[in-house]
């Protein structure tokens, strides 16, 4: 006697739930590992001026002009990232640097998880391949994640990918979440334009379940583009984004907009990922048109500007999973005698839960110490001129300070009032003239002494190996104090008539007091 059909259906249902649970367990495990990689201290130097601005906006609104520097800025303040800055200030205010690091770490994890969930369900990619793809993505992202608005764009791209993936499968309700996403995104980071371009690509090159779905996505795209206008710049936001991309001045002087340096380990990891994706695409039957066009466009964009590396890594994460599994099934598994990946499709729920709990405990043991106030304070003292800034605050209040551009942001955080800061990484606001004045001193161009004098700069906070320090010493500037923890020093202009030194500056400066 045959069992009733309802039992067969129930069995298939249970099988599918078990498969999904196993897959989610693998994703959960990968997410835990990625969190360990993604929680970073304040290593991005821009975090400080973003923090200072967030506090300013929270107290008195978005400034109309640049608020921290004594240099005249060529352009009005671009308040496009105000929501990110206010959120950052709120997180630091609520829980210190540790909370901000944890929050951005979770943002990166969310991006990687969503990228994994963007894998088409019809591809039935086994859990281990999702785990591997997420792990590779997390490792590649290690060089770029941290407390930075770029991570917001990485998350936004992952969300857009996830929505597109569901839309392809016929679930078009999620696309109506895109306009509010872009509304928020456009007020946090200029990378929202990448998300819009992704949607344009999806409309143009993806084949949905029905033509009506394509029209829906097109409408959602237009509404999202309009929603992005709800930001302090209004319609000018698109011109601002385009100018930020094509302006050669910005490209020359912003590290993120330079081509990758393939001597660095982070660029080498990116290179390895590119090679892996290309090999998998080639041996597994090739990508669809949308993936190929967008993937190669992002590759080109990353060669042009390393800043795009995060977007590329997120976009290719589902490609790694799908094509890796396919390549294994077609080429490797038959040779080693297993028709499919041999790991069981179903993991016992208690066993998987136990493993996840153990991994979480291990992750907490690694990550929690990083989030402590003492760890943040130690990092700040070592990597930023904390002691030197304290010395200047005590001995030279309200006086103009020269420093290198990567420390300029930190000084805006330490000295948000009185306009004592020279310049920090906002070339679009400062303009070419201000940038040239900074470069004249930084690169010891022929007019550097004139610039120094005309800006009435009498004090400087500099790294121990800065050429400006050697140059100022030649002019007779004195070393007020030296901080061994951060290898930084405070220098001040000499009194008129002070004899010039006959020999050069030595580090550590002999006889200098501690900051």
């Amino acid at each position: 006697m045959q069992p009733p059909d309802i039992v067969v259906i129930a069995d298939a249902d249970r099988e599918r739930r078990s498969e999904n649970a196993t897959r989610l367990a693998w994703i959960g495990a990968a997410a835990i590992v990625v969190l360990v990689l993604a929680v970073q201290p304040f290593r991005n130097t821009d975090v400080w001026w973003n923090l200072a601005l967030g506090r300013l906006i929270a107290s008195s609104g978005i400034p109309a002009q640049e608020p921290f520097s004594f240099l005249p800025a060529a352009h009005s303040w671009i308040g496009q990232q105000w929501l990110y800055q206010v959120t950052l200030a709120g997180l630091v205010g609520a829980g210190g640097a540790g909370l901000a690091s944890l929050a951005m770490g979770l943002v990166a994890v969310a991006a990687v998880v969503l990228a994994a969930l963007s894998v088409p369900r019809s591809a039935r990619v086994p859990g281990p391949w999702l785990f591997l793809a997420m792990l590779v993505t997390g490792v590649v992202l290690t060089g770029v994640v941290g407390v930075s608005s770029t991570e917001i764009t990485v998350l936004g791209v992952a969300i857009a990918l996830f929505v597109i993936s569901r839309w392809r499968e016929g679930t078009s309700a999620a696309i109506w979440g895109l306009p509010p996403l872009f509304l928020l995104w456009a007020n946090m980071d200029g990378g929202f334009a990448a998300g819009l371009l992704l949607l344009v690509g999806a409309v143009a090159w993806l084949r949905p379940v029905s033509p009506a779905n394509r029209r829906q996505l097109a409408v959602a795209l237009v509404v999202s583009a309009i929603a992005a206008l709800a930001n302090p710049l209004g319609p000018g936001i698109y011109a601002s984004v385009i100018a930020g991309v094509v302006d050669p001045g910005a490209a020359a002087h912003l590290a993120g907009w330079a081509s990758p340096n393939f001597h660095d380990w982070s660029a080498r990891l990116f290179e390895a990922e590119v090679i892996l994706v290309l090999i998998l695409w080639t041996v597994s039957g090739g990508p669809d048109r949308f993936s190929a066009i967008v993937g190669f466009a992002l590759l080109m964009a990353t060669f042009f500007a390393e800043e795009n590396l995060g977007i590329f890594a997120i976009f290719v994460a589902p490609q790694l999973a799908v094509h890796g599994a396919r390549a294994w099934t077609r080429h490797v598994a038959p040779r080693i005698g297993h028709p499919r990946w041999s790991a069981p499709r179903h993991v016992h729920p208690i066993a998987s839960s136990a493993v996840l709990v153990a991994m979480t405990a291990l992750m907490a043991a690694v990550v929690v110490p990083r989030l402590s106030a003492s760890a943040a304070a130690s990092y700040q003292a070592t990597n930023y001129p904390e002691a030197a800034a304290g010395y200047v605050a005590t001995h030279f209040p309200g006086q103009r300070i020269y420093t290198i551009d990567t420390w300029g942001g930190y000084l805006t955080y330490r000295f948000p009032n009185d306009r004592v800061v020279f310049l920090y990484d906002q070339p679009a606001v400062f303009g070419t003239t201000a940038l040239d004045r900074y470069l004249a001193i930084d690169q010891l161009q022929p007019n550097w002494i004139h610039v120094l004098g005309s800006e009435h700069i009498q004090h400087a906070i500099l790294p121990a190996d800065a050429r400006e320090a050697a140059a100022l010493h030649v002019l007779g500037w004195l070393i007020d104090c030296y901080d061994t923890t951060s290898a930084s020093m405070v220098m001040s202009a000499p009194a008129p008539g002070t004899p010039l030194p006959a020999t050069g500056l030595l580090i550590p400066p002999p006889g200098a007091s501690t900051c």
Partner: protein
């Protein structure tokens, strides 16, 4: 028809067919490409290392043997000098004695062009269409723009291209020609340590074909042809050790790849900067190549391995773009030929045009007309190439062209000093200064053989060049007499304002300083008040000061 008449008839038909082919538009296109290839690779000598190679060659001939130690510096005179390019240096000296700079420019340009011809011949083995062949070669020669020029590395480029050609011919057709690699490597290992790249290419191809066979990749080479290739590799490796430096030469080239100082301080070892228009074409070629590989999904194991290795090397250091051109261009052409039919049908679909059937009869102009027209076009292009080459050959060493790049006038002034000097110099000018001043006994701080200088000295030099704290004591501790540097550089500006240094010379390119406490004792000649207006230095005096160049 008799058998003799038949043979003559067949030979005439074959000749006629070949002539038809050469005078067809596609044949003319390839001939034009061959000539155009010569243009970008023909330049005046811009390699700063050329000068010390020339001087080293002259010294080798003078002494009748290799120099055990470096004769040019006062900083590392005890370092053993691995003169891995001794044969090239000697040839430079001989060519210079016979024909001056012009002969060297001609020879190196011809060598580079020959390398490109080898690349083209390798691509032709796969019988691509002439369109793909010509377009691919033009893209490749433009992609290599950042690195072309008369320099020793072009010999390695040409030999690498020849190696790849011979290996491919062997794998496709067999035969004994592959054994010509053995004497080639005997010569190559005495020209430049880049012969290791050639050995690496052969090894990569062997491993790739073995792996490709296991992976069932398309068009594998016959196993019967892999065994002789292995023996050729062993033979080449063995004869490579027949050089004045012995077997240690095999490890020498690896030293540059693993030197942190060279990789981080010397500009040509930097990764390509895709904001530089010269590098964009290289980037576009690399990207287009991988796109075509993914689209065609048909690539031989050895091709994939060569693209992978040279692509990775070229992304790491711009100087390896030459290797990518040598190894990946035939693959690019092959993939382009595979993709062309698909591209044509895609264009037709976009234009909504059906495929047009081939016309039954193609009416061509008479052969005499075609031959005459072709000859005229080739002659015109050849004339352009010669007109491009001749001026490059006619630039002498003592000329405004070189005075704008190298301290010609400063060296002339320094040669008037009564005693030999210890000169702290710019890295990229060490070669020229060694050529002009070493015969006087003057010594330099540094010159362009980075492996000889060593990482420690390179890092010290970098601190001074970037004017970091400690620059002054580094210069003084080395017992330097004179600092000669480019104007408008951070170091020059620093010294200009330093109370411990006095400026003693300046022209449009260079400026010289002496420590305050040494000026009186050195008895340097005064700065010339004026130069004859038509002299090189007189003309240089009229040019505005340069911006200062990085090394």
């Amino acid at each position: 028809m008799s058998s003799v008449a038949t043979a003559v008839h067949e030979r005439r038909s074959g000749f006629r067919e070949r002539l038809d082919s050469l005078t067809a538009p596609s044949g003319l296109f390839i001939a034009a490409v061959l000539i155009i290839l010569a243009l970008p690779v023909t330049r005046t000598i811009q390699d700063p290392d050329f000068w010390w190679h020339l001087r080293a060659g002259q010294l080798i001939i003078q002494h009748g043997g290799l120099l055990g130690n470096d004769p040019f510096t006062y900083t590392v005179p005890g370092n053993h000098w691995t003169m891995h390019e001794w044969l090239n240096d000697v040839l430079f000296a001989i060519e210079y004695a016979i024909g001056g700079m012009g002969l060297i420019v001609l020879v190196l340009s011809a060598v580079t062009w020959a390398g490109l011809v080898c690349v083209m011949q390798k691509a032709r083995l796969r019988r691509p269409g002439r369109g793909a062949l010509g377009v691919g070669m033009l893209i490749a020669v433009v992609a290599g723009f950042p690195i072309w020029g008369p320099r020793v590395q072009m010999i390695t480029f040409a030999f690498a291209a020849l190696t790849l050609l011979l290996v491919e011919r062997h794998l496709m057709r067999g035969g004994k020609a592959i054994w010509w690699l053995v004497p080639l490597f005997l010569v190559w290992s005495n020209f430049h340590s880049g012969f290791v790249i050639g050995l690496g290419f052969i090894a990569i191809i062997l491993v790739a074909e073995l792996a490709g066979g296991w992976l069932h990749m398309p068009d594998p080479a016959s196993t019967a042809r892999l065994r002789p290739l292995l023996f050729v590799l062993l033979g080449c490796t063995a004869v490579s050790m027949i050089n004045p430096n012995g077997p240690t030469i095999l490890l020498y080239a690896l030293g540059t790849q693993t030197s942190g100082a060279q990789q981080s301080l010397i500009q040509e070892w930097f990764s390509p900067n895709f904001h530089d228009w010269e590098v964009l074409i290289y980037g576009a070629m690399l990207l287009a190549l991988v796109m075509m590989i993914v689209a065609n999904r048909h690539i031989r194991a050895r091709d994939a391995a060569l693209v992978l290795v040279t692509g990775t090397l070229s992304l790491q250091s711009a100087r390896h773009i030459a290797l990518l051109v040598a190894a990946a261009t035939p693959v690019f052409i092959d993939q382009l030929a595979m993709a062309t039919p698909r591209l044509r049908s895609a264009v037709r679909r976009m234009r909504r045009r059906p495929a047009t059937p081939q016309p039954a009869v193609r009416v061509q102009p008479p052969l005499l007309f075609r031959a005459t027209a072709s000859a005229l076009v080739v002659a015109a292009l050849g004339g352009i190439a010669v007109a491009w080459l001749i001026p490059k050959m006619q630039v002498p060493a003592y000329s405004l062209v070189y005075a704008r790049e190298f301290p010609v006038c400063a060296a002339q002034w320094l040669s008037g000093a009564p005693e030999p000097l210890k000169i702290f110099n710019q890295y990229g000018e060490g070669g020229y200064l060694s050529y002009k001043l070493s015969s006087r006994g003057d010594k330099l701080y540094i010159f362009g053989d980075a492996a000889l200088m060593g990482d420690a000295l390179l890092y010290q030099y970098a601190k001074v060049e970037t004017a970091q704290p400690g620059w002054d004591s580094i210069i003084r501790n080395a017992d330097t007499d004179v600092v000669l540097y480019d104007v408008n550089t951070p170091l020059a500006d620093l010294m200009e304002h330093s109370a411990g240094w006095v400026k003693v010379y300046q022209d449009s390119l260079s400026v010289a300083f002496v420590a305050t406490d040494k000026v009186a004792s050195l008895h340097l000649p005064p700065q010339p008040a004026a130069y004859p207006p038509n002299s090189v230095c007189g003309q240089l005096a009229k040019t505005p000061p340069s911006g200062g160049a990085p090394t």
